[in-house]
Amino acid sequence: MTTETIVPARAAWSAVIPAGGTLTITDLHGNQAVDFLVYDAADTAVRYSAADTLQAQGGIFLTTGGVLMSNEHTPLMTVTADEVGRHDTVGGACSKESNTLRYGHHTWPQHACVENFLAEGARWGLGKRDLVSNVNWYMNVPVESDGTLGIVDGLSAPGLSLSLRAEREVLVLVSNCPQVNNPCNGFDPTPVLMTITGPET
């Protein structure tokens, strides 16, 4: 069974992916950051841990073969295909509050990923304590030798996709990033496609 959903620009989305199922995210228009959190559907206190993911793979970029690890250092999802090459684990989600630091207080009224995560998470009983450092699919955040890091022009292109296999039943929270003050969405947020494929039987 396959279900397809287009997530509009700037919107939130969530779904439960069965164990063994695959979620494919397609960057329909290119360079669209997809902020992503994943929880054990049976116990949402067990959730994605950027730190454990980095420990497990010994590097900061995610691509094919990378495993999204939980805060208990157990696998939640595995990247089974990736047409881009690297995705961000360091930059976290944009928020109205951090936007005031990064771009000035005049940006506070703008929509942000944390708003999406809070609103969508609330539908599943999740609150602010449940938000942690997230994956940013399609976002490019290099780190220089002196530690300087930043969100720079993306490596993605229209139609490129990546696939994630659920290693147990998981709840996925997505914010289709609305940021317009840096290049993470090419300064033009666009829709993305979510395809859920059931486990092979």
Binding site: D52, G58, V90, G92, A93, R129, V132, S133
Partner: protein, 267 residues
């Protein structure tokens, strides 16, 4: 020979005779004993916690070059505002913590500023160790074992402040460095040597959770972690004109947000 504890009187006398002196770190140079609010040596594989008033200075010292201080900060009495390592590195455009760096909350405010750092070997990316990983690496990671995991200890410190597993985001660690290589790999650089220290200023009232355990990327196959000396003393928050505050547009706005919030709260 086992002590006489066959009656309540003997057991009480025995228990009371157990008391022994505890070695505590001396106040740092220039700090009067009257201003000292915390002085404790945390052995490797153990943890501590404290609530600190706004403006307090918190000094972590690594006398042997073998400590690794894993730190989480929550706003006291309002713990849903807490350390956010992603905002900390992203807002400051730098993955590495050092003198003048800020530890930021998820609310666009400063939790703590680093006022002094003679180590320069820290990590804001790899978090702490877990029961599962310590089992794989050392045979055990439970709190009562010889190789406790950082997350297990931070869970205990959190519980004693009314917090639970959902209140533990990724932590930062001090005194054992990690660097990002070209291509994104993580390089272990470890300690800067014995006798280094780092001082943080609490820019809001803070619940401080600290575990002293080997860094999760420490290549030593043995669980080895030296003592961590913790001292804290009374002080005032970073004021107008301070170089830490005025260093960048981001730091200036972060302190402005913090001042505005604390003024409204009356702290």
């Amino acid at each position: 020979m086992s002590p006489a504890t066959d009656t309540t009187y003997a057991a009480r006398a025995h228990a009371r005779a157990l008391e022994a002196p505890v070695e505590r770190p001396a106040p740092p140079a220039g700090v009067s004993a009257d201003d000292l609010v915390w002085a404790e040596t945390v052995p490797g594989g153990n943890y501590t916690h404290k609530v600190l008033a706004r403006g307090s200075l918190l000094r972590l010292a690594d006398p042997l070059g073998a400590a690794c201080a894993h730190l989480l900060l929550h706003v006291a009495d309002r713990p849903w505002e807490r350390l956010n390592v992603a905002d900390t590195v992203k807002v400051q455009w730098n993955a590495y913590l050092g003198p003048g760096a800020l530890l930021l909350s998820d609310q666009g405010r400063v939790l703590a500023s680093i006022t002094e750092d003679s180590s320069g070997r820290h990590d804001a990316l790899c978090g702490t160790s877990t029961l599962a990983r310590n089992r794989a690496r050392y045979g055990d990671g439970s709190p009562q074992s010889a190789s406790p995991a950082g997350r297990e200890l931070l869970l205990l410190a959190a519980a004693k402040n009314g917090l639970g597993p959902r209140d533990l985001p990724p932590s930062v660690s001090f005194f054992q460095g990690v660097r990002v290589a070209e291509g994104g790999g993580l390089d272990w650089v470890g300690t800067a040597g014995p006798g280094t220290s780092l001082t943080l200023r609490a820019e809001q009232p803070l619940t401080v959770l600290l575990a002293n355990i080997p860094h999760p990327l420490d290549p030593n196959p043995a669980y080895h972690c030296g003592p961590l000396e913790v001292t804290a003393w009374r002080g005032a928050p970073t004021g107008p004109g301070d170089p830490i505050r005025e260093a960048t547009p981001e730091s200036r706005r972060a302190f402005a947000n913090t001042d505005e919030f604390c003024a409204a709260r009356g702290v």
